[in-house]
Amino acid sequence: MFSIFHPNSGSLLAFTIYLSFAGALVLALLPKGRPGRHGDQALARWLALAVAVAGLALALQGFVAGMGPNHAARVTIVDLPWVPSMGIHYLLAADGISRVLVLLTGLAAVAGVLFSWNIELRTNEFFAFFLALIGGVYGVFLSFDVFLLFVFYEVAIVPKYFLIAIWGSTRREYAAMKLALYSFVGSAMVLIGVLAAYATAGSHSTGLIALAHAGLPVSFQMWAFPLVFVGFGILAGLWPFHTWAPTGHVAAPTAASMLLAGVVMKLGAYGCLRVAIGLFPRGLDPWGFSFIGVGSWRDVFAVLAVVGIVYGALVALAQTDFKFVIGYSSVSHMGFVLLGLVTLNQIGVTGAVLQMFSHGIIAGLLFAIVGRIVYDRTHTRQLAQLETMHLSRRLPFAAWAFVIAGMASMGLPGFSGFVAELQVLVGAWIAKPWWTVVAGVGIVVGVAYTWRAMQKAFFSDVRPSAHDLEHEQEQPFATITWPEVTGTVLLAWVSLAVGLYPKILLDAIEPAVKTLLLGGGQ
């Protein structure tokens, strides 16, 4: 059966998808564990971890295989006719961008499983949904057929809904429904745009590359681009369609928030890049007139992105709920991704892709600390309450992990976020300097809210009274478990490694971005 795979590097990548779905299936079929019986859940956990690790290994293998002399060239993994009459292919392929994002997905999956280790409620189903979501995400990143991509995209949305609706916390139904509604509205817009493109192209192929080369008329691209960009952008937290993100992140169980912020939002951004910009590059051309300095869709979305950066940061500054801070920070950081995308230059787009990776790691880490390590012990997310708990003393691991994550998040050099934001800012400078300046304000506010949250949550100045100390000694927090340590260390190290030696990812991203910008496809 291997003969259907192209005998080239990275062909194993496709198995990330299959493996995840298979894992999901197996987990769904496992006998229901009885609550309280430890062994029952353990099997599910280890199985999920095994699948996630295997996926990560495959992703890593694919990434490594993609390096080398012909690195980052796009390689086709599978290309089977699916609905020949419509030209739909089951076409999986990988270029540098895909590899990086697949790697991110693998990492997020492993970390997600680790941070879900203590899920007791319907464990099997949880991990089944989790892996199904992961499988869908892998699929999106590897699809080079627009319909296949869309299918995976939709596949990924469904488990997300259940993850939030069943295992979520605050206002989970509301959040889940909000997320689902937003997603479907976005999907609908994307579908309309893509169908229109298919019809307009008349090429009888839904391959991304083929469509990109179909020579779609500029007037068509002019309206299809914003439609598709907004459609995907909704999931990427594009302002002002971002409000699902904070509520969704807050309501979701930790692992789901990690995936939501870490990977799912990247689906949107990836779609913006691969589909919206890839298929309708001319849609960004100037309109021929300009209104208060806005003269093209590119300007429009740049403005939205920049507003999102500053706005998200400011709202994060005003939050009282720890997790909301992180939730809004995602909006702000995704603004950088979108800003990078619409710079339409090599550096900016590369930065955007790197920022996708970086934010995936960092947001995952932040949610893990806030939602899992801290919340599970303190049972509150209110900064005002956390302030009285002296967490830097009682949970030093969490405190310092958050410091590292916060540093990475606020874009301090040495961490991946800095390199990514640096590139985005450079790209924005090249495009329009004032974008950079405003985004710079966003960074400052970013520093402020991260630091504020950190100080309030961990390093409050409230001196403990004797009574407090006694109370704390009587009721110590649960010790940090190994999955928490492992997950934290994994993510932190990845961020640090990429921050110190970003070349490792940039080598893969840059050529792919170059080809994408040159001619849509290859």
Binding site: W239, T243, W244, T247, L317, A318, V445
Partner: protein
């Protein structure tokens, strides 16, 4: 006055010049060693200090001899040793030392007076617990002062100058537990520092203009022809040449150290220090350093003067000096503290020196400096002896009749007092003051300084008589009876007294050895010196004035001085004027409401700016961001997110409307369906009809 001074252009540095640096270094090193000693090692400390200074004196004498020998051979010695301190860019900051007559004379004076005071101190400070510390500071001072003397670089001079200021500060505040002493020390340092920053400015200006701070460097020094020519060509400020402006800035430094008006306020307060300190630093040497500085940079001050004329800088020096001389003398009249009277007298005499420099040149000013160094040291030490004998009493109204109890002290003190008053012929002060008066008489710019100085001489004689009258005559008004001081105190007094008289011999008009020596001219004994026009008349005038002062003083205070409770004789006569003088003409108070108030006002302004304005701006920005953040959150909850929720609600209510149509009756639905089909079909058919 000489336009050009014919010093030998270049002399290979002689061995003594080569080791001249040892003169300041040895006492400084000794000071360092003493600093490391433990408090009880009193004897070692004193021995070290005295030995080191003796060594310096010895070297100074050798150097002096060398210069004199050279002079005797018709060579005006000016030997320098220069070296680079810092290499900055391609230029360099050079330091060096110089041996010339000016330095040699000053070296001997400082070292000699210093040594005597050291010896005196071993007795005077015998019971002080910080005895070793005292000698440490004193030794440091001596070294620094000697450093000032030999410096051949304005920068090196400045360095030692500041060190001298530091030791002055340390010694004034020697009894640091006394708040008054601590405050006086601070005041002294700061007031002199005010002068010093101008000095610094002058120095950097000079450096920038001439590229060097060396005084003499084989024609390339800043006081030598090339540099001065450049400075004269350069316009300065307020119509001065650069040379003049720089000179004035440097003079500000000198005025600070030498207590010239308006920077004199620290010097009387400095009497809070131990008496030997007052004698050494605040009478004989340090305060004279300002005069010495002006003498040292005299070519600069004088640059541009036409033959026999003066320069703007020198005019300023003159006026300041003359004014200070009278001003301080007036205040001295109404003081009751024995040391304070001497302090104001010092200020006054420094004014004489400055005026002498301004009007008569280096030698005139310097001669008074040297003689004053001896007799004022003598007076202070005598005062110390009195204080010692009267059990630390300093108020002259609580003394009296001491000439019987302390005969030796009285005798020497009287010599000093007469020297200070300028008692004719026998005493050095007469000759040196006459030199100044003579110069003032011949000054072409104005005659006022001459009258001022004459009036000052009158006042000097008067207040000294008043003091002596109070202290040594009349009857004992103190509590415990006084006693004579030990030999260790009286012997230095005797030696100083000898010099207070004898030194006059080298500066008489008949044998102006001192002036000739400084100017590098040959000298011979010649009675015709007195025959200069107006000289004898001047001497007569001065004699009359002195006797007038002495007589007046004696008339008022001789024998029957009032008790402490009684008002002074003059106070009864003119209480308002007396009050003004007693309160030092309110200069301190004036500073209190101007400079010091300004200082604190600015401090408060700076602090207020910092806390309220800049801090307020920062807080405001932070507040604005917070507020903006809150606003954004409000928008997010109510507009962006709200629109979503609203949309959902609308949708739901729309669903409710639709639900109203759903009656639940199947047949109704069916009916509607059928009707719709009918309608649709009808339309379709109708439209397809041809």
């Amino acid at each position: 006055m000489q336009e050009t001074i014919s010093f030998a252009p270049h002399l290979a540095a002689s061995p003594i010049t080569g080791i001249l640096w040892l003169i300041p270094t040895v006492p400084i090193v000794a000071s360092g060693v003493i600093a490391l000693l433990k408090q009880p090692k009193r004897k070692t400390a004193a021995t070290l200090a005295i030995a080191s200074l003796s060594f310096s004196l010895l070297l100074s004498l050798v150097a002096f001899a060398h210069v004199v020998a050279g002079w005797a051979h018709g060579v005006a010695v000016r030997e320098t040793v220069n070296f680079t301190w810092i290499q900055v860019g391609t230029a360099s900051v050079d330091l060096g030392w110089v041996l010339d007559p000016l330095a040699a004379v000053m070296l001997v004076m400082v070292a000699f007076v210093g040594l005597l005071i050291f010896i005196y101190s071993t007795g005077y400070m015998e019971h002080d617990e910080n005895f070793t510390r005292f000698f440490c500071f004193m030794s440091l001072f001596a070294g620094a002062m000697l450093g000032v003397v030999i410096a051949n670089s304005l920068l090196l001079l400045f360095i030692f100058w500041e060190l001298v200021g530091l030791t002055s500060y340390l010694l004034i505040g020697f009894w640091y537990q006394k708040p008054a002493a601590a405050a006086a020390a601070k005041k002294a340092f700061l007031t002199t520092k005010v002068g010093d920053v101008f000095f610094l400015l002058g120095m950097v200006w000079l450096f920038a203009q001439t590229g060097t701070l060396l005084f003499y460097n084989n024609g390339a020094g800043s006081l030598e022809f090339g540099a001065l020519k450049g400075l004269l060509a350069q316009p300065g400020a307020w119509g001065l040449t650069a040379a003049g402006a720089i000179g004035l800035l440097i003079f500000a430094g000198a005025a600070g150290k030498s207590g010239q008006f308006p920077l004199h306020v620290w010097l009387p307060d400095a009497m809070e220090g131990p008496t030997p300190v007052s004698a050494l630093i605040h009478a004989a040497t340090m305060v004279a350093a300002g005069v010495y500085l002006i003498a040292r940079v005299y070519p600069l001050m004088q640059a541009g003067a036409l033959a026999g004329g003066t320069t703007a800088a020198l005019t300023v020096v003159t006026w300041v000096g003359a004014f200070t001389a009278v001003f301080a003398a007036l205040i001295a009249v109404a003081q009751n503290d024995i040391k304070r009277i001497l302090a104001y007298s010092t200020v006054s005499q420094l004014g004489y020196m400055m005026a002498g420099l301004g009007m008569g040149g280096v030698a005139v000013g310097m001669f008074h400096l040297i003689t004053h160094g001896f007799f004022k040291a003598l007076l202070f030490l005598g005062a110390g002896s009195v204080i010692h004998g009267c059990h630390e009493e300093q108020d002259i109204r609580r003394m009296g009749g001491l000439r019987a109890d302390m005969p030796l002290t009285f005798f020497t003190y009287a010599i000093g007092m007469l020297a200070l008053c300028g008692f004719p012929l026998l005493f050095s002060g007469f000759w040196s003051k006459d030199g100044i008066l003579e110069a003032a008489k011949h000054w072409t710019v104005a005659k006022t300084p001459f009258y001022l100085l004459v009036f000052g001489a009158l006042l000097t004689a008067f207040y000294m008589t008043r003091q002596v009258g109070y202290v040594f005559f009349g009857y004992w008004r103190g509590k415990k009876p006084a006693h004579e001081s030990p030999a260790v105190i009286t012997v230095p007094l005797a030696i100083l007294a000898f010099f207070a008289m004898a030194l006059g011999l080298i500066g008489t008009p008949a044998w102006p050895w001192f002036r000739a020596f400084l100017d590098g001219r040959a000298v011979g004994f010649d009675w015709h010196g007195f025959a200069e026009p107006g000289l004898l008349g001047l001497m007569a005038t001065s004699t009359v004035v002195v006797f007038l002062g002495l007589g007046l003083g004696w008339r008022l205070y001789g024998g029957q001085a009032p008790t402490p409770e009684e008002p002074d004789v003059l106070e009864k006569a003119a209480p308002v004027a007396w009050g003004w003088l007693r309160d030092r003409l309110y200069v301190d108070e004036l500073y209190g409401v101007t400079v010091i108030a300004f200082y604190w006002w600015w401090a408060r302004v700076a602090d207020w700016l910092d806390r309220r304005v800049w801090g307020g701006v920062v807080a405001g920005v932070a507040w604005a961001f917070r507020g903006w953040a809150q606003l954004n959150q409000f928008l997010d909850n109510n507009v962006v997110d709200g629109s979503f929720d609203k949309g959902c609600d609308e949708l739901a209510s729309g669903g409710g409307l639709l639900a109203a149509v759903q009656t639940g009756r199947v047949q109704t639905y069916l009916r509607i369906l059928a009707l719709s089909v009918v309608a649709l079909a009808a339309i379709l058919i109708w439209s397809s009809l041809p």
